[in-house]
């Protein structure tokens, strides 16, 4: 793998990790809110 390809590899991996992290954080918030709503019913 050339240095240019390595940089591209790391850039993509970093972006994917960031997107997956944001999605997981979103699900944590959503599940918390669903739990609160269902407990209040």
């Amino acid at each position: 793998m050339t240095p240019e390809e390595k940089r591209e590899f790391e850039r993509r991996r970093k972006q994917r990790n960031l997107v997956v992290g944001l999605i997981l954080a979103g699900f944590v918030v959503l599940f918390y809110m669903i739990t609160i709503v269902q407990m209040s019913d």
Binding site: M1, E4, E5, E8, F9, R11, R12, R13, Q15, R16, V19, L30, M33, I34, V37, Q38
Partner: protein, 323 residues
């Protein structure tokens, strides 16, 4: 090499053998992790807009109330399921997509990610959406959601699309599920009204899609897909467009006729479906000539999208303003 979201200049898909399994993945794609935008493109975001809109309309038009958080979760699950089904559709049809100009720029034909990754991504989205829908909303809507994914991926994509010119008629039902599921998310029961909403989209799909197929039929012919214009000819397709458009008019008014909506929806349905029928008449009765610009067909296709947004918008306005 590009550093943006697009594929590197050197990437060209071709068939290679890995552990005796033939794949279309490009060599660079086996080394680099796929860009997140390529996964997003697998979900067919443009189709998802219509899915989310009709599901939201079904949810808002349903009698009863739903907590905003649960309502949001239901729409999210429907969107995730549509995305998952779209990804599984692209996984299965990667070879066909590569042969058609309209779909050749999708991530899999371009070799931007591995076919197996698309399958796993689609399965993950589909499974997640069903489980969350069941746990957070209700299990009836989760069951219908699961069936809609099965219908689109297995019944339509794998079975009907490559085997019968009626593929769009029956397969179009897959796109008719969102308002039904949105409605069931609120009511937890299947009644006549959501079934009518289902039937309206079911009846709308053939003229909508065949108007498109009339001017991209060369693509379908080259890919070996028996779309109506390819398998039965242009004249039959035009007549069928006219028949379905004529049936759509009374069907779209039926929710008003059975007392499920008010006059705001009923009069809107008459006007919108009347225009739909009027625009389908020149498409249904004419014959294209060499070098035809297919303007009536393109206008009908564009109007058909506007029609669905406007009709379901009228349904919600009727419910919210006049219920």
């Amino acid at each position: 090499m590009k550093t943006g979201g697009g594929a590197p200049e050197t990437v060209r898909p071709f068939r290679i053998e890995i552990d005796n399994v033939t794949t279309t993945a490009a060599p660079i794609a086996t080394q680099l992790p796929a860009d997140w935008r390529d996964f997003f493109a697998l979900t067919k975001p443009k189709v998802m807009r219509l899915v989310v809109f009709t599901a939201l309309c079904g949810l808002l038009a349903a009698p009863g109330t739903i907590h905003p958080v649960i309502g949001f979760t239901a729409i999210l699950c429907i969107a995730l399921a549509a995305g998952g089904a779209g990804a599984l559709n692209q996984w299965w049809e990667a070879d066909i997509d590569a042969k058609m100009k309209r779909t050749a720029r999708r991530p899999l034909p371009l070799g931007k990610l591995r076919r197996e990754d698309a399958r796993d991504f689609g399965m993950l989205l589909s499974g997640t959406s069903i489980v969350i829908m069941g746990l957070a909303v209700n299990w009836l809507s989760a069951a219908v959601l699961a069936f809609s994914i099965f219908f689109y991926v297995v019944i339509y994509t794998m079975w009907l699309k490559p085997s019968t010119p009626q593929n769009i008629v029956i397969g179009g039902a897959a796109g008719a599920f969102p308002p039904l599921i949105g409605w069931i998310a609120v009511t937890n029961e299947i009644t006549a009204m959501p079934l009518l909403l289902f039937a309206i989209i079911f009846m709308w799909t053939p003229p909508h899609f065949w108007a498109l197929a009339l001017w991209v039929k060369i693509d379908y012919a080259e890919a070996g897909i028996p779309m109506m214009p390819v398998a039965r000819g242009e004249t039959t397709t035009r007549r069928q467009i006219l028949i379905y458009s004529a049936l759509l008019l009374p069907l779209s008014v039926l929710p008003w006729w059975i007392g499920g909506t008010g006059a705001a929806y009923g009069l809107s349905a008459i006007a919108l479906s009347g225009i739909f029928l009027a625009m389908s008449v020149p498409v249904g009765l004419r014959t294209s000539v060499e070098g035809d610009t297919m303007r009536p067909e393109k206008r009908l296709f564009a109007y058909s999208i506007l029609y669905l947004f406007a009709l379901f918008g009228a349904l919600v306005v009727d419910r919210v303003m006049f219920a």
